[in-house]
C-alpha cells in the first residue's frame, strides 16, 4: 500500500491534532496549576470515559449509558480495597487495589454485556440506562461500601502524588493513559476482532449467517468498554481523592453522553474534544454572573443545539469544513468524510435482528 499523500485536507485534519498534542506535552509550563488540574486533567479523564462510549457506539453500534456506572464500580471497588475514610476496612497496597478495581469492573461489565448484548439500538440504550441508575441506587443505599456521603481520602500510589499541590504528575499520567486508550482503540479497529465488531455494527444478521457469534462479540466489546471506563474511574478517584454515590448519578451519566455527542459520537477524537469543551465551558461559565449555578441549563441547551443542528458533533462540523476546503482549494476528491456526513448519525444506529 502506498503511503497516503499529504493533501490540504489531510493537513487540516491532522494539523490541529498535532498542535493539541504539542500543547498538551508542555502543559505544565503553559497553564497555571489550577487550570491544569481543574480543567485539563479533568477533561483528559472525562475524555477517556467518553472514549469508552464512543468506542462502543462508533465501532460496535452499542450506545451505552452504563459507562459512568462502570467507572463508578471501578472507583468504588478500588476506594474500598485501599486505605480510605469510609467504606470497607480493607487496606491493600494502592497498586493492588487499582488492579483489583479494574478487574472487578471488567467482570461486572462482561456480566452486564452478557445480559444486554442481545438487545439492539434503543432497547440496548434503555437497558444500560436502567443498569446505570440501579448501580447508583445500589451505592447510595449500601453505605457499607459507599460510607456516609462517600469514601474520602482514598490512598493513591506514590507516583500520583498530591493532585492539588503538584498536579503535573497526575496530568502526565492522564495524558499517557488517554494516548494509550486512543491508540489501543485505533489499533483494535484494524484487527480481525475489531473488523468483526464493525461488521456486527453494520449488519448483525449477516455476521450471524457468516458464522460469527454475534452476542459473544458484543459481550466482549462491552467488556472492553468496561476496561476503558475503569481507567477513567480510577483516574477520577485519584483526581478527586474521593468518590461518592453522587458522582455516578444520572446527571454524571448524562454528562459523559453529552461530552461524547458534543465531540461527535462516531469519531474517537471527539471524546477529548467534547471533554475539553465541556470542562472549559464549566470552568468559564461558573464565573459568569448570568449563569452562576445554572451550568446544567447551559450544557443542556448546548447539547440540544448540537443534537438538533449537527448530529455529528463538533468533529462532524470540522469534518465537513476540511472536506469542503480540501475539495474547494486542494483539488482532492471527496473523502470518506463526505460519505459519512450524508449519513445521519442516528439513522444507522438501530440494526434490528431479523
Amino acid at each position: 500500500m502506498r503511503p497516503p499523500a499529504l493533501t490540504l485536507e489531510r493537513a487540516l485534519w491532522w494539523g490541529p491534532g498535532l498542535a493539541a498534542v504539542l500543547v498538551l506535552l508542555f502543559g505544565p509550563l503553559l497553564f497555571s496549576d489550577f487550570y491544569l488540574s481543574a480543567v485539563i486533567t479533568k477533561a483528559l479523564w472525562l475524555g477517556i470515559a467518553a472514549a469508552s462510549l464512543i468506542f462502543l457506539a462508533g465501532y460496535v453500534g452499542m450506545v451505552s449509558l452504563g459507562q459512568v456506572a462502570l467507572y463508578g464500580i471501578a472507583g468504588f471497588a478500588m476506594a474500598n480495597l485501599v486505605t480510605a475514610d469510609g467504606g470497607s476496612k480493607v487496606a491493600w497496597n494502592p497498586w493492588l487495589g487499582t488492579f483489583a478495581g479494574v478487574l472487578i469492573c471488567v467482570g461486572v461489565g462482561l456480566f452486564f454485556g452478557a445480559i444486554a448484548s442481545r438487545s439492539y439500538g434503543i432497547y440496548f440504550l434503555m437497558i444500560t440506562l436502567a443498569f446505570a441508575v440501579i448501580t447508583y441506587f445500589f451505592f447510595a443505599q449500601v453505605t457499607e461500601l459507599s460510607g456516609f456521603g462517600g469514601v474520602n481520602n482514598v490512598e493513591r500510589p506514590d507516583i500520583v502524588s498530591n493532585p492539588v499541590a503538584d498536579p503535573a504528575n497526575l496530568f502526565y499520567i492522564a495524558l499517557g493513559l488517554s494516548a494509550a486508550v486512543y491508540l489501543l482503540i485505533r489499533y483494535l479497529g484494524r484487527t480481525p476482532f475489531g473488523l468483526a465488531l464493525q461488521g456486527v455494527r453494520d449488519d448483525p444478521s449477516r455476521m450471524r449467517s457468516l458464522g460469527y457469534n454475534v452476542p459473544l462479540l458484543r459481550m466482549l466489546a462491552f467488556g472492553l468498554g468496561a476496561l476503558i471506563a475503569a481507567v477513567a474511574g480510577i483516574l477520577s478517584v485519584w483526581w478527586n481523592t474521593r468518590i461518592s454515590p453522587g458522582s455516578i448519578a444520572l446527571p454524571q451519566t448524562l454528562d459523559v453522553l453529552v461530552i461524547a455527542v458534543i465531540g461527535g459520537l462516531y469519531r474517537l477524537e471527539g471524546a477529548w474534544v467534547g471533554a475539553i469543551v465541556f470542562a472549559v465551558l464549566d470552568n468559564w461559565t461558573r464565573g459568569l454572573e448570568l449563569v452562576g449555578e445554572r451550568f446544567n441549563t447551559v450544557i443542556g441547551v448546548v447539547f440540544l443545539a448540537i443534537v438538533l443542528l449537527s448530529p455529528g458533533g463538533l468533529m462532524g462540523i470540522w469534518e465537513s469544513v476540511t472536506d469542503f476546503v480540501g475539495r474547494r482549494f486542494g483539488g482532492a476528491r471527496p473523502g470518506p468524510a463526505a460519505a459519512r456526513a450524508e449519513e445521519p448519525a442516528a439513522a444507522k444506529d438501530t440494526p434490528q435482528p431479523s
Partner: protein, 357 residues
C-alpha cells in the same frame, strides 16, 4: 393407533424442543426456574409466619404497582406508537408534582401542608391542582413533540438524545425554581384516613387504595380507547404501518400529537398521585424514569398488558424486598430489582410481551 402416534409426536416435540436448546439456554432456564421456586418458598414461609404483615406489604406493593402503571402506561403508549423513548418522562412526572404542590400552597395559603397528616385541603384544593398540573405537563409534552421531535421521526437515537437534553434543562430549572426539599401534596379532607379491609381486622390508608382504583380505571380506559374506538383503531394501525395509515388519508400527525399529549398527561397524573401518596422531590425524575424503563423492559415496549405485568412485578418486588430480606440486608433491596430485570431479559430479551419492531 392414531392417538398413540399423536402422543409420541407431542412427546418427541417436547423432548426435541429441549434438546434443540443450546446448552447455555437450558442451564439458564433451569437457573431461572430455581430462583423463582426459591423466592416463592421464601415468601410463603415469611407469609405463614406473619400473615397480617403479608397482607399489608402485599397491599403496599399493589398500590405502588398502580402508581407505576399510571406512569409507565404513558411511556409505553408514546413508544408503541411513535418509537420515541421519552427520556423526559420522569421530568414530566416531577414537574406535575411541583406544579400541583405550588398551586395547592397558593389555594390554601400554605395551610394544607403546614402539618403533615392533618390535611386542611378541600376537594377543590386537590382536584384543581391535579387538573392544572396535568394540563400544563400535557402542553409541555405536546410542545416538545411538535417543536423538537416531529421532524426527526424514525431517528430514534436522535429523538432520545433530544428528550435527554430537555430532561437536563428541566431538572436544572426546577431545582432553581422549586428548590431541593421534598414536599407532599395534601390529600383532600373528605377522604378518610384509612379504611377497613375486612381481613384480620386490618385497616389500610384510603388514598393508596384510591390510587390503585385510579390505576385500574386508567388501564381499563386505555384498553377501551385502544380496542373499542376509531382513534384507538388508528393508533393500532399506526403502530403496525404508519405510512399505510397516512396513505389512507388519515392525518397521522394529529394522532401522534394526541398520543403524545395523552402520554404526558398520564405522567402528570402519576406525578400528582405520587406526590400525594409519597412525596414531591427533585430526585423524582431519575427515579420515575428508571421505573418507567424497568416496567416497559420487563413487560415489553409498547404493550399495555406488559406495562401492567411489569408494574405489578416491580411494585411487589419493591415492597416485599424492603421487608422480607433478612435483617441487615434490606439496603440491598435494589439488587432484587436488578435480579428481576436480569431474569426477564435472560429468558426474553424483548420483555414478556415484546414483539420485534
Amino acid at each position: 393407533m392414531s392417538e398413540a402416534t399423536a402422543a409420541t409426536a407431542a412427546d418427541l416435540d417436547w423432548r426435541s424442543r429441549i434438546a434443540a436448546l443450546p446448552p447455555g439456554a437450558l442451564a439458564l432456564r433451569i437457573a431461572v426456574a430455581v430462583v423463582v421456586v426459591f423466592v416463592a418458598v421464601w415468601v410463603s414461609y415469611k407469609a405463614y409466619g406473619d400473615p397480617r404483615q403479608f397482607v399489608i406489604v402485599g397491599l403496599n406493593g399493589l398500590t405502588l404497582a398502580g402508581l407505576y402503571f399510571v406512569v409507565a402506561s404513558g411511556f409505553t403508549l408514546i413508544f408503541g406508537l411513535m418509537r420515541v423513548v421519552n427520556m423526559a418522562h420522569g421530568s414530566l412526572y416531577m414537574l406535575a408534582g411541583f406544579f400541583a404542590f405550588e398551586l395547592q400552597e397558593r389555594l390554601t395559603g400554605g395551610e394544607a401542608t403546614s402539618a403533615f397528616g392533618t390535611s386542611e385541603a378541600g376537594v377543590g384544593d386537590w382536584i384543581i391542582p391535579l387538573v392544572v398540573a396535568c394540563a400544563a405537563v400535557g402542553v409541555i409534552g405536546l410542545v416538545m413533540q411538535q417543536v423538537f421531535l416531529r421532524w426527526n421521526q424514525g431517528q430514534d437515537l436522535r429523538q432520545a438524545l433530544i428528550t435527554i437534553a430537555i430532561s437536563i434543562i428541566i431538572a436544572d430549572q426546577s431545582l432553581a425554581h422549586f428548590g431541593g426539599i421534598a414536599e407532599a401534596i395534601a390529600e383532600p379532607t373528605v377522604f378518610p384516613d384509612s379504611v377497613s379491609i375486612f381481613v384480620y381486622d386490618l385497616s389500610y390508608p384510603f388514598f393508596r387504595i384510591f390510587v390503585l382504583l385510579v390505576a385500574i380505571a386508567v388501564g381499563l380506559g386505555l384498553w377501551a380507547v385502544i380496542m373499542r374506538t376509531r382513534f384507538g383503531m388508528i393508533i393500532r394501525a399506526g403502530v403496525d404501518d404508519r405510512q399505510m395509515v397516512s396513505a389512507l388519508g388519515i392525518n397521522i400527525q394529529l394522532v401522534f400529537a394526541a398520543a403524545f399529549l395523552l402520554g404526558a398527561v398520564l405522567a402528570g397524573l402519576g406525578g400528582v398521585l405520587g406526590g400525594t401518596m409519597i412525596s414531591v422531590d427533585k430526585a423524582n425524575d431519575t427515579q420515575y424514569l428508571l421505573i418507567s424503563l424497568i416496567v416497559v423492559i420487563i413487560g415489553g415496549m409498547g404493550s399495555l398488558a406488559g406495562a401492567a405485568i411489569g408494574a405489578l412485578a416491580l411494585g411487589l418486588v419493591d415492597s416485599f424486598g424492603d421487608v422480607y430480606l433478612p435483617a441487615g440486608y434490606t439496603n440491598y433491596s435494589v439488587l432484587l430489582v436488578f435480579a428481576l430485570l436480569v431474569l426477564v431479559l435472560a429468558v426474553r430479551p424483548l420483555g414478556l410481551f415484546g414483539r420485534p419492531a
